[in-house]
Amino acid sequence: MTDILNAFVLLSNFVLIPGLAYGSQLALGALGVTLIYAVLRFSNFAHGDLMAFGAMCTILVTWGFQAIGITAGPLPTALLALPFGIMGAIALSLVFDRTVYRFYRARRAPPVVFVIASVGVMFMINGIVRVIIGPGDQRFADGERFVVRARDFKEWAELSEGLTIRTTQAITVIVAIVVVIALFRFLNHSRMGKAMRAYSDNEDLALLSGINPDKVVFYTWVIAAALATIAGTLYGLDKSFKPFTYFQLLLPIFASAIVGGIGNPVGAIAGGFVIAFSEVTVTYAYKKFLGYLAPGGMAPDGLVQLLSTDYKFAVSFVILVLVLLIRPTGLFRGKVI
């Protein structure tokens, strides 16, 4: 019995909890991508860099707070700074919408032109982030590091494996749940949320019924920028902040949005967890886990790792391709591009 418990604790430490945290981050990122796609009808390649920009603003404000002695007690100070980061990202998104995307929207340019424009925006935001904070690693997590410590857990449960839950992981999951509930309440119950869904469903019909398109676009950017900042900050807290990693997050985020069904918010969340858990489970080395479960002397010799961690991109990609081939609308019937 203890062996089974030990194996379960081990699996929670390295697969379940990290997968939940990573899945929440991906889900928040994919929600932003999917909203932009649903309302503005293009794949926003600048989303990863928008996440980096929002996280950077949060980090700068966090450092300011830390310097003047404001902290959030056991929680990371970054949570206090998050609203400021969100405002920064919203301002940047709106500036780019005014100067870049609005022109093409007015001309009803084909989606691929928007995508190329978003590549230009991606370059610019990337440059801005690197100029302001530099290309290196930044750590900004503070406060209590663990919710559950391995040693305390071992003593309490009398197991040889200790369960660890880091504060950042717990916060990521809690914040993600709160944000998703708030977003769905907004989309389903508020006047603006309904207008956004109507606009996404049928633009002409929405215009005909008196919905103001500028307002819809404005709110879409506000929400997408807020989601991007929250996702970026949580990812930075959980791992670390480095501009280039955010650019690389683009692929799993897109994979999540498409796997779930692009343009569909529920799908984005499901897709985020599907991608996160497949990455974690396929790249985890099961040697120790099987060692607990296998009867005496039958423990495996190798690492029992299906793929080395360096191939985690391949996992999200293979899932993406399978979904595109078998069910191009995604798990939750999004739009077909």
């Binding site: 293009f42 991606m122 440059g127 530099g134």
Partner: protein, 435 residues
């Protein structure tokens, strides 16, 4: 026409100014990489400009070309072949048999039995391959790991690798195109982005193939070494007659030799792709790009044509990738970055003029020039901006450090400005009859 000549002349003048005010070596370096960039941009232009295929996996094809340069030119490592060559060959054989079995099963069976049999074959094949592959990798990588630890290449002259690089990239493009080309633009973009990341992941981690992130340096060169030149009497005579320092002249001479080689490749690729563009085939491609449904109604096999053009464009990118590694003299998978190897090439094509080969070439030169020269310009700008700050101020040091990253910002700005105010690029596409 006059406008185009003026644009290219201005580009040449800019390079001459660099040669005068910075140094001849810098100007030649920009010229050489500009030539390579131009070839790469031609490859992207074939896909995007002719056929409207939105491929953002350029980096992957360039890296495949690069690894071909290693596999063609490096001498084979007999110890590694003895240690693990046969096992690796067996692993490859089992892999081929597995793939064959999966394809065969899918042809022969139907329904639920088919899915089950496929799954079983895949799982069984995976463990079988791993059982041969893992020991082979360990054996190969254990051979003198500090210096070699890989199978080595064929030991042929590196110039062949340019062709091989093209063929390898074309082969990869065929497989990828078969899977991904049915997708419409956005999905295709994301699929190719993912594939290029996977190609890089493989090249970084499969040390037995090309040493992964341990890099292969000191590749053989298609042109003489500087040291050899400095000892050759004919070269010393030439330097004396021109009144130049033999040491600096030798490095310029080597770069110039590369310039000639690259210019020949660019000329051939340019000539071929222009011929293709102005042939019935090129007109068909543009017809498919402009109105896919109409072209399909006229009986054109759109998917097949797309596959064809995807393979051709990727082959050109592969050639450029092999040229780049040849010029660097080393293969460093860690240095491939999608901003530099995918999106920068895209900026070249859009700025130069998509659909026009001369435009792509000009874009290749111009954007590469700006990419390089933005660094000193950014530093100059920052020095001027921070002139009022004290020398020991942290802000000044930070801003001076950050100057090189301004070029990313600049590239984005250029792309957006061109897309908005000159969406057809500097040298617009010539439409069929008026040209």
């Amino acid at each position: 026409m006059i406008r185009n000549i003026l644009l290219f002349a201005a580009m040449g003048l800019a390079l001459i100014l660099v040669a005068m005010f910075q140094s001849v070596t810098v100007a030649l370096a920009i010229l050489n990489l500009g030539l390579i960039s131009a070839v790469m941009a031609l490859g992207v232009n074939i896909q995007w400009g002719y056929a409207g295929i939105f491929n953002v996996g350029i980096m992957g094809f360039a890296a495949l070309g690069g690894v071909s340069a290693v596999l063609v030119s490096v001498a084979p490592v007999p110890e590694a072949w003895a240690a693990g060559g046969s096992k690796m060959a067996l692993a490859a054989l089992v892999l081929v048999v597995t793939i064959g079995a999966v394809i065969g099963l899918r042809r022969m069976l139907t329904g639920r039995v088919r899915s089950f049999a496929t799954l079983l074959a895949v799982v069984l094949g995976y463990f079988l391959v791993r059982s041969f592959y893992d020991p082979a990798v360990d054996a190969i990588e254990a051979v003198d790991p500090a210096k070699s630890g890989f199978l080595g290449g064929l030991g042929l002259p590196i110039i062949f690798s340019w062709l091989v690089g093209g063929v390898v990239a074309a082969g990869a493009a065929w497989v990828i195109g078969k899977i991904a080309l049915g997708l419409r633009s956005d999905y295709l973009a994301i699929a190719t982005l993912g594939i290029s990341e996977i190609v890089l992941a493989v090249l970084k981690n499969e040390d037995w193939l090309a040493r992964g992130v341990k890099n292969v340096s000191g590749l053989p060169r298609p042109v003489p070494q500087e040291i050899v030149l400095q000892e050759a009497t004919w070269f010393l005579d030439l330097a004396a007659r021109l009144g130049l320092d033999p040491v600096t002249f030798s490095s310029q001479f080597v770069r110039l030799a590369y310039t000639i080689l690259f210019a020949i490749v660019l000329a051939i690729v340019f000539w071929l792709s222009n011929r293709a563009l102005n042939s019935p085939w090129g007109r068909m491609m543009r017809a498919i790009r402009d109105n896919r449904d109409a072209a399909e109604a006229m009986g054109k096999d759109v998917t097949r044509r797309h596959l064809q053009v995807f393979v051709l464009g990727s082959a050109v990118v592969g050639i450029a990738g092999a040229m780049l590694v040849t010029y660097d003299g080393q293969f460093t998978p860690g240095s491939y970055n999608p901003l530099r190897f995918t999106f920068l090439i895209w900026v070249m094509v859009i700025v130069g003029g998509s659909g026009n080969n001369a435009g792509a070439v000009l874009g290749g030169f111009l954007i590469w020039f700006l990419w390089i020269e933005a660094e000193p310009a950014g530093r100059l700008l920052m020095t001027v901006l921070t002139a009022g700050l004290a020398d020991d101020s942290g802000l000044k040091a930070h801003l001076l450090d950050a100057a090189p990253h301004l070029r990313l910002f600049l590239m984005g700005l250029i792309l957006l400005l061109v897309l908005r105010f000159a969406p057809k690029g500097l040298i617009p596409e010539v439409s069929g009859r008026s040209g």
